[in-house]
Amino acid sequence: MGDHGLSLLGALADALDRRLGWRERRARAIADLSRPVPPHVGWAYTLGSTALALLVLQIATGIALALHYQPTPEAAHASVAHIQDRVRLGWLVRSAHAWGAHFLVALLLAHAARVFLTGGHKKPRELTWVLGAKLLFITLALAFTGQLLPWSELSYWGAVVGLEQVRITPAVGPAAGDLLAGGPGVGPATLTRFYVLHILLLPALAAALLAAHLALVRRLGIAPLASTAEEDAQGHDALCAGGDPYVPHHILKEAAVAIVAAAALVTAAALWPPELGARAGRTTPPGIRPEWYFLAVYQYLKYWPSTIFGVPGEKFAVCLLIAATTAFAALPFLDRSPERRPARRKLALAVAGCFLFAWTALTLLGSLSENELSLFGHHWRFDTYGRPK
């Protein structure tokens, strides 16, 4: 491009600036993003932005898939098979989208754990946490609704089991189940509804929540490793003194982690593409179990007695689950101590440790239940409760 071309671009930029004032806006944004982050902020603080990068990748791969996908029971499975085998690089896009869900959930869980550990959910960032928790739930809902779309045996029965768990919710469960499924069972209406939820409603909701979440993060900044009282007294900027500016220092770290995560995702997608499996509706395949992030809940529901005081035990289980989920979203209002430093929050960390242990144990038991394990020459078979037979 010669001088003439450059001058043409400059003229265009000037013209747009006169109309939009973008140069001033850019300068303000750079000044805002160049504010320093607290001095303790390191690699662990890149998880949120990495999740954001992968979310963008999910949107891109999702749009590519939607160009070929047909959301009817007759055509869905064949269209995914078509994407996988006939569309150029379709297999990689589909695999990256499927793996992206796993990566995204894992990153969001790790991000939430980091925020909790460093007290980032505390005043004045309660709303940031609440929005983030809702984003996590929406991501799980996106994963659940997306799982049905290939209309394979496993995806079909995964949806059947998932909707059963929705239906046992007291009071609203049956109505919510019918609303989601479009009828008493999983059928054409369910596929249409899940598709609309997956590509339209949930992404729109997620986008709105994400915008609010990011705006709050920029407005309130990253929480310093100090008590809320100290932050109130000294101000956020004072506690960030000595820290690196977000742009360009911290953003370089975020970019590096995002690039590695994206490369890891593409590698996993290339090396272990998920099998499509047979089309739904012929047989019930053995070993139906939800994805790893729902396994703990799936297993937890098994241990409840069939009735408690004449009421189905599952209803109590679901009530407790809803209470726990609500408590997670409302954590800033429950964990009200002003301290953020982990060493001074032993009780909160102990409670979180117990929760993490229970969640891990249930996930492990869920993966073993009705399964077999061969290790060091020994072979075990496990019953539905995960006990060796």
Partner: protein, 459 residues
Amino acid sequence: MKRLLLLAALASTASAENRCVDCHEPQQKLLADSAHLVFGCADCHNGREEAEDMDAAHSPAADFVGRPAPSDLARMCASCHEKETKAFELSPHAAATRRGDPGGATCISCHTLAATPTAHAIADCGDEGAPSGRFQVAATCARCHSDAEAMKRSGLRIDQFAQYRASAHGYNVLEEKEGDAATCADCHSPHEAPSARDPRSETHPRNQAHLCGACHGDVKLMTEHGKDPGVVAKWQASAHARNLDLGAPSCAGCHGAHYSHVPEPAAIRESCGRCHEGPARELAAGPHGPAVHTDPATLASAPVHCAHCHDAHGGAKPLPPYGATACAACHAADSHEIAEGNAMSDLSAALHTDLVALHQKLEEARRRGHDLPSCRETLSALDARTHDFASLVHGVSPAKCAAEREAVGKESKALMGRLSEFTPGERRLWWVPVMWVFVFLGVGLLFLKARKLKSPQGR
């Protein structure tokens, strides 16, 4: 001696207490000569044995039963012979009696010594001369089963005894009094006597190998009789055993049930050809059709038949190369027949290899979510043609086989091409490590940039 003592005891009892003998002396005599000599009349008929008055003796108040109905006989015998009568109640014999068929067998039909069945002349089963004894049972069964009038009601054939008498089993039992050979009750459990169509029956095709194997799998017994004790085991491992549900023959399918015999060589082609129509047709049309094989040991001549190449009981195909395993039994090692046999063997193996690969490819496509009904249809047709190729081999025409192989091979190749579109092979993943090289380079550059920013000049 024991029998005499018991008879004496009964006689003394009868003279002292049993007044039935006053009127029923013939029955009493029959009873005294029977296996039931220890029983009194009231044991079966109730009533009052000691009563001098006939009305008192036959009193309904004492539950007197005069001539029991045939359908009641089994119940009466059950008071002592519970196990046998329970089995009998399940039998077609009992069913016929229950529905009022006058030809329906009861206990006394088989267990009476008298020419006219009567319950007073019950024979001791241990007696060789008893109707149910080893050498008499066939004739006992034949009393009804060779009676056209009786069998007409049940729709059963009446030539079973005639066939049995003509069989090796029948000859050995009836003529040679050979105790080892099978008689009716050895194959048809005597009391339950289920139909061969009943899956519980020993004679049902599913159970025949077990039944016949009791003797024909007995190494000691078969060795004594100069027979191969391995035939049953060979059949059990055969394709016939695996495909019984599809109508493949069990023992009786080839050897007959009552006229159990080794099939005549001339009849083997016809016997196998009833199911293996294609091979039999091609064999008859080919050079082996009119050929005669002479056994070098016995010099007996017979048309070339199936068992010359296939094991009679194993039924397995000759192992490839056919020239070496099948043809060499009759043809010289350096003959063109051997070479042609080997060539056909290679063609057959190539067809099967193609077919296996196609099935694997179709299954892979199915796993990947492609149903491909038209491909499945084509593959079914190729399956059938490959199966028919085995028939062609029996015609021993290498040129015909080669032409068919070429035609099927072309279709297989076309189908493989179509299936390959839905089952991409090993993906080229060379770009994955290359991508990581660029990732490391990019991240390295970011680190350098970060260091530069941290340096005093950068700040």
